[in-house]
């Protein structure tokens, strides 16, 4: 199973892919605290969905893990799993542990 650090790296790779299409002055920082969703988010809707899709694709294609990061389970959590890189990482760890 992927470790928490490996999942975080995978999220950073998705951020790097986004940054490759953004201006040098508009780069998304790759840190656990980086806000992905919500009032402090550094991503707009297009970028956020792109990031989620890239992470899902990597989990699926590169690691054979068929999980969805946007489904009923994510919707019903009291705290959004999309708030920051760290909450997204922890959510993926939780999904993998429950498989």
């Amino acid at each position: 199973m992927l470790s928490s650090d490996e999942i975080e790296t995978l999220i950073y790779e998705a951020i790097a892919a986004l940054n490759s299409e953004r201006d040098a002055t508009d780069q998304i920082p790759a840190t656990p605290e980086t806000a992905l969703f919500g009032v402090d988010a550094v991503t707009d809707s297009l970028s956020f969905v792109s990031l989620i899709t890239d992470v899902e694709t990597s989990l699926n294609v590169d690691h054979g893990l068929d999980i969805s990061l946007a489904d009923d389970r994510a919707m019903t959590r009291p705290i959004s799993p999309y708030d920051t890189v760290a909450t997204l990482r922890d959510y993926i760890v939780e999904l993998l542990e429950d498989r």
Binding site: D40, D44, S45, V49, I52, T53, A74, M75, S80
Partner: protein, 191 residues
């Protein structure tokens, strides 16, 4: 009530209300901003934009996206509504006030409301559209919500100073229910 659904469509975060001539100056400013690289060229003046709004055909629904506060933040349309073949094209999707929507899933909910109009109200079987091939984020966004790539029109668009392919995308009614709706719901956290 329009021939094609309710005049106003309410969501949790946004409302879609009809585009009217009084929106000409605001929507022109949005369309002339640097965020519209991938939209087709349109009106250049408020008068032209007013004329364009006033001449929309009956088989289109053109909306202003408003926050629940009433603040206009963007536009979206459902065009080429074809009841005989039960299809239509979501189009002219533009968030004009990105700072006003930060942290609010406006784009996702606006598109969900358009899909709801198409599939739940008008009982269409299919929505479709084209996206410029350079607009990779939008292609990924649409595919993430269930759109399937159905083809490619080579050098179909002259945008941003050069010819680009148009990527043809389509979403069937069952894909809306099994893919688009669950994923959109997950990203639209209720207030």
């Amino acid at each position: 009530m329009s021939a094609f659904g309710p005049e106003v469509i309410h969501g949790h975060h946004v409302t879609l209300r009809p585009l009217v001539v009084a929106d000409a100056a605001r929507t022109l400013a949005w369309r002339l901003s640097d965020r519209t690289t991938y939209l087709n060229r349109g009106a250049e003046t408020v008068a032209e934009q007013s004329a364009w709004i006033g001449s929309r055909p009956r088989n289109e629904r053109n909306f202003i996206i408003e926050l629940r506060s009433g603040t206009p933040v963007g536009m979206v349309s459902l065009i080429a509504i074809d009841p005989a073949n039960r299809r239509a094209e979501p189009a002219r999707f533009l968030i004009g006030e990105p700072d006003a929507v930060r942290g609010i899933p406006v784009a996702v909910e606006a598109m969900q409301l358009v899909y709801g109009l198409a599939f739940d109200v008008l009982h269409l079987q299919r929505v479709y559209g084209t996206v410029a091939s350079d607009n990779r984020l939008m292609i990924k966004w649409q595919k993430s919500f269930g759109m399937q790539e159905e083809g490619r029109l080579r050098r179909h668009l002259f945008l941003d100073g050069r010819f680009q392919d148009a990527v043809c995308l389509g979403l069937l009614e069952e894909e809306y229910r099994t893919v688009a709706l669950p994923r959109m719901n997950a990203l639209i956290r209720r207030p």
